[in-house]
Symmetry: C2
Subunit: 376 residues, 2 copies
């Protein structure tokens, strides 16, 4: 419980770069072994500094979830940036401007938007058709050939829209057991393979891509899938650990939160670290309890996962209440920093808008736009 | 469903200034009638522009929840800024620097932190003792006179710490019926009055303050309470409407979200508007359904609350899925903006980091540091 960086006085998101790099190495090697291309999603880290690492693993194309994030990564000169969100017709002008500088692909889920692009594009852009194979959030239902055909035919009216392939984000893996995740993976790959077989003769270059971290982590072999696009795996989090995608040791970010009160008789520690830092994402533990994070001890060279877990039992805007066994309560003091592994690292990173690595260096995040910790 | 501001192409937080000003007027008049001072909490709007309005209603002192927010409001020359969060010992240097320029009060919940301040303060600061009268989040338990005495005696060792009074945030009103809120209000005021009676002879200037919006909204008379410090009332939100603190018409902010897909056969609308915009705060409806927001139609002069409500039934990082009756589905089109009333306006404002008023002007928020919409 030594303060590693006396400069830190406020909630700060620590990044263990070694852990993140190891997560990247493992995912990259698994993809290579299957002859599957890794086109990672950058929605989790949203960082140029972290983005650079992927180049060393042969990554040349990336995925983001908004046109603003695509702009942020423009200076990194990627061969293509895919915006994996149903295209927003209001952003056509912005897309034309961006596509003049950068190879872009968009995502389509209906023919109306395909028509709008066909009529208004000034630059060539690629597109994926997003398929819903059971998640139910977004995408063309896998059996809805009417819509798939309508998108393809509408796009063929122009040479500005180039069909790239089919994309599935099987987000329902986030509510599943490892066995169910395997079953969803097989369902997803069957759907994609069926579509590839159906359209391959007309579009010989089409690829099939799937995107969720649980599938990509639990599945050991991506044979038959052209591209995988996971994002969360770079950091992982408690949700992924609970799903079996990773161990808690793999989690690469932890919020350092100042201890402001200790209630020994209630086994509670109060920290400055609430919903504006961690987000309000919650994990339901096997015993039915709600967890907003898990306590770790911060040391100079990283953090220590505790044998007997202590959790963030409640949070409000700025407050976090930790429920901790006596052994932990006895080790902590007012005015120290305590670490919290996040339930959902993408959201925590977005709330914080920046990181600090274990050398004490600042790491950028799109939301903080290099300003790092707007409030520090 | 006319687009009021063609410039808006991305999720944007609309602020209806008339509604907010009306909320402020009502709270201010109620406080004046009871001869109670309004010391509003600025954690909800976190805006200098909005902060200025309070001056016209006689407000001279304000409340914030972090030392960084106190710094943000420094240029507005308030007579005092109260930091309503248990003082974080790591911020002693920052506090000394801030208190050299601005009258500050802090919040204490244990004697150890009082001792640290007594030993290290270079400037005089005021302090409130935060009391826990049943909420269980933070504060000295109301019956714990040992801790109260220890804080008071420790502070008397220095002339730098000036006792201001007792503060209660009765956050458990957020899980209560209007009748229970009244009961909590009476319990809170009894606790504060008891403490005032006990310590008034020794500290004749001490005040008692309570802070939660549900109590301050539902209670019609603050007789006997010196100061009230609500924050959320300036905007209100769906949680407050469900509690009976306000009507949905009083809610002063709505997220404008671009429609990117419409699934008529499923009665669903997909928007760009997710957890990074609204936050993941959730409201459990009387029928047990989860709501992440309620749909409104945006017009040039504000928004229209729908007779038959439509809700945001699920959100992920960037996606919002609206479940809408046929009458609503038939009125919307791809590429339009639709409005969403937030479940928790403080968190939504913090996610967005800026507002746009109905004249199309940008309004600052601390988190966006005047830059307004970092991604626009």
């Amino acid at each position: 419980m030594i303060l590693p960086y006396p400069i830190i006085t406020a909630p700060t998101l620590f990044l263990d770069e070694k852990k993140a790099l190891n997560n990247l190495k493992k995912m990259s090697e698994k993809a290579k072994k299957s002859h599957t291309r890794l086109v990672p999603h950058f929605k989790t880290h949203q960082s140029r500094h972290i983005g650079e690492w992927y180049k060393e693993y042969g990554v040349t194309e990336i995925t983001v979830s908004s046109i603003y994030a695509a702009e942020y990564f423009l200076p990194q000169l990627w061969e293509n940036i895919h915006i994996a969100f149903p295209f927003n017709p209001l952003e056509i002008t912005k897309l034309n401007r961006l596509a003049a500088e950068q190879s872009i692909s968009v995502q389509l889920v209906n023919a109306a938007t395909a028509g709008l692009l066909a009529d208004n594009l000034l630059q060539q852009v690629g597109y994926f058709i997003e398929i819903d194979a059971g998640y139910g959030r977004t995408g063309v239902e896998v059996s809805d050939f009417g819509t798939i055909e309508a998108i393809l035919r509408t796009s063929l009216k122009t040479n500005k829209l180039k069909f790239r392939g089919f994309y599935i984000h099987a987000g329902h893996t986030y509510h599943s057991s490892p066995e169910e995740i395997q079953a969803i993976y097989h369902q997803t790959t069957s759907a994609l393979t069926m579509l590839k077989d159906k359209y391959n003769s007309e579009f010989p270059d089409l690829v099939i891509r799937l995107g969720d971290t649980p599938s990509c982590s639990i599945q050991q072999d991506f044979a038959g899938i052209d591209e995988v696009g996971p994002g969360n795996f770079i950091f992982y989090d408690l949700t992924q650990a609970a799903l079996g995608s990773c161990t808690k040791e793999d989690i690469a970010v932890a919020l350092a939160a100042p201890i402001v009160d200790i209630k020994k008789h209630k086994n509670e520690i109060l920290v400055h670290g609430g919903g504006v830092h961690l987000s309000k994402d919650v994990l339901i533990l096997p015993n039915g309890q709600k967890s907003y994070g898990e306590v770790v001890f911060i040391h100079e060279d990283g953090w220590e996962i505790l044998e007997e877990p202590a959790i963030v039992k409640s949070i409000s805007q700025e407050h976090g209440v930790l429920q901790a066994p006596k052994a932990i309560i006895d080790r902590v003091h007012l005015g120290e920093l305590i670490g919290i592994l996040p339930v959902h690292s993408c959201m925590t990173a977005d709330c914080m808008g920046g990181y600090m690595n274990l050398k004490g260096e600042k790491v950028d995040h799109f939301k903080g736009q290099n300003s790092f910790y707007r409030n520090l």
